[in-house]
Amino acid sequence: MKHEAVFFTAEEILKRGKAGIPDELLSGKNLVYSSPATLAYNSPGAEGFGVKRAGLSVPESVMLIVAPGCCGRNTSLISSMPEYKNRFFYLEMSEPDLVTGRHLNKIPDAIKEVLAFLKDNGKKVPKVVMICITCVDALLGTDMDRVCRKAEDALTGGEYEGIKVRPCYMYALTREGRRPPMVHVRQTIYSLLEPMEKDPRSVNIIGGFAPLENTELITYLKSAGIRNIRQISTCKTFEEFLDMARANFNIVIDPEARAAAEDMNKNLNIPYIELTRVYSTDKISSQYKALASVAGIDIIDSEEKAEADEAVNKLKAAYPDLTFNIGECTNANAFELALSLVRMGFKVDEIYATLAPENFVYVKNLALLSPDTKIFCNMEPTMLYYKISSSKAQVTIGKDAKFYCPDIPNIAWNQDTRPFGYQGVRDLMNKVFEALKEAEA
């Protein structure tokens, strides 16, 4: 037995072609190794903005998790955050529930008890109750829309009439299906919006659950005369959130929000434009040109582009042969980031990420510039044997990369607030620069 983590070079993958991506790099072909990345993305509620936090991004909402106890166990990580206090409740399934499905009949009364508990303890009564269900109900084929309608009906005529009840599907089983949990939860959230009079100077940015901060995109939109730029994370009240229905158009910054944007287009007549987070300043510039053209606005980005390029050049000047290892537990597509870094003139020794076929294009281009870059799969069982001693990197990006390379300076770059556009490039370069300087000191 070799006791080595399996990897393939970018060149080897290019030779095999898109249809020949090795099983070791694909999801679903092997047992899944427990790395920080797989723990985060295998478990739709585990960390970051999984289904649970995402569902509660609706202002003035609470969540009732109706599931076996194991599904809610790690929620204490989240519920210890002040903003989630008194917002998570649990209706634990028992073994008889699994057979009889009676847990579903208990939901209306459980909701009433939760609402009464909040009221009696002087807490704010919510406007929305999210019902989070898990793999068991996925397999039982539970019709949660009906269950939620019945729960709403049960509130009718009482002191809690008008409170909305919506389902959140924390179905890890469907992670690679047509509607994965993080796609579905966005659809659920925005399905709460109802048609309103349009405001031509209103735009929504959808996809994230924490605000875009300090990004030039907001500045460009304001310069173009957009008065209301709404993100769900900046809505303080449920009424503010409902105003998102007034938008003239949506900007989608995460492909997992595409289905929700399609729904909003159909139901609320709000068209959408999709922007991708990339780390190539040329690509960012092209995207802004496309946005300006489609939205009929002027975008002058030369200053921000120059700032981002300057940050790249500053890092390059200080560390001309800088070599990176890049993980996927980060605010970036690991393959796109690797390609961008190589195009900037840096080196990428190792990537830890699952190679979905849609990312093959990045590996293909990477192979031409950096054929020896090694690609490991975070999920692959032999990652148990990964040894840092063989890596040439001086810095790593991603929480998972730190797990594999604990002694190398790391930028986790997995913060809740999303970096975007030139700001993302500039801030990442500056963070790398600071981390290396700190390590030298």
């Binding site: 899944v32 295998n42 194991c70 790690n74 929620t75 204490s76 073994e95 208990k106 939760v114 069982p381």
Partner: protein, 311 residues
């Protein structure tokens, strides 16, 4: 309402208990789930995961794998992993998914063992029971598979049930060698509820005591006390001289139970015990204080990882 939690988060489930027992044994542990349960074990309920790598894997089930009962695919994945990873045995740990689809663990064991040359130990857990039940099932499965009837080595003492979920950082790992020789150990100690179950399963005499609390009463415990923790922790404090009732969310064996002791399930039951019991001291994980904010007596924080997730 029964089963409704308004203040506390759910306690450690049986699959976490099972994995906790197996973690130190050099097994290839396969949690039969879609990923979420493994995330819960490694990312939350297994404090050792952050310090020592262990071969804990998710089966990575997808909806059609479960619906179509693709055990053959699971067995093939395990075979592939065993070809690349050194392991003494394979442990397969249940979750709500196999519970829902009615997985036959004995058949699964045979199916996998037909593909590999090492033992397969299935642990029946379903995510709906508590961690002590999973620990118990893991001990039983290990004893059935590995415990020699007439061991070659006579160990002086083996402690069962001293896992991180009960004792946090003060846990004592047992090894596969301990299990092989368990029937010949001179002394067996049950350090928690699952330890009592395992010892009873072996049919041997044993001592019920917590090595952590033996003659070690935590500072601050005075007067009439309610101890809320694992039953053996409570018993050990009582044996050390604490005037206490034991309340536990887990299991209360007849060998421990005295008048005034209770096994509870619901938040309201704990509230009622504190409200009506007239206790001078509550010795319990501090997270339980949120249930009884008006309690004015003395509170001694008796950490319990399975309750709060605090080491």
């Amino acid at each position: 309402m029964k089963g409704l939690r308004k203040v506390l988060t759910p306690f450690a489930p049986d699959q976490s208990g099972a994995s906790g027992v197996l973690y130190s044994m050099g097994a290839l542990i396969v949690i039969i789930d879609a990923g979420g349960c493994t995330g819960n074990v490694c990312g939350f309920d297994e404090p050792r995961w952050h310090d020592t790598r262990s071969a804990v894997f998710s089966a990575g089930l997808r909806d059609m794998d479960a619906i179509l009962g693709r055990d053959e695919l699971l067995a093939s994945k395990i075979k592939s992993a065993c070809e690349r990873i050194d392991t003494a045995f394979v442990a397969v740990v249940g979750t709500p998914v196999p519970a829902t689809i009615g997985t036959d663990y004995k058949a699964l064991k045979r199916l996998i063992e037909n593909k590999i040359d090492i033992p397969v130990v299935p642990v029946i857990s379903n995510g709906m029971k508590l961690y002590n039940e999973g620990e118990k099932e893991a001990y039983k499965a290990l004893i059935d598979e590995f415990a020699d009837e007439t061991p070659a080595v006579a160990k002086d003492q083996i402690v069962l049930g001293m896992t991180p979920l009960t004792y946090g950082k003060e846990h004592i790992d047992i090894t596969l060698d301990d299990i092989k020789n368990i029937r010949g150990a001179k002394t067996l100690i049950a350090a928690s509820s699952s330890g009592i179950d395992a010892c009873e399963y072996l049919g041997r005499d044993f001592e019920i005591v917590s090595p952590v609390y033996k003659d070690n009463i935590p500072e601050g415990i005075t007067g009439k006390t309610l101890v809320c923790h694992d039953e053996v922790v409570g018993k050990t404090l009582r044996d050390a001289g604490v005037d206490c009732d034991i309340v536990t969310f887990f299991k209360l064996h007849d060998a421990v139970k005295k008048d005034g002791d209770r096994k509870i399930t619901e938040e309201d039951e704990f509230i009622a015990m504190v409200r009506d019991g007239g206790y001078d001291t509550i010795a319990a994980d501090i997270c339980l204080k949120d249930l009884v904010p008006d309690y004015k007596g003395n509170w001694v924080d008796l950490k319990c990882f399975a309750i709060s997730g605090r080491t």
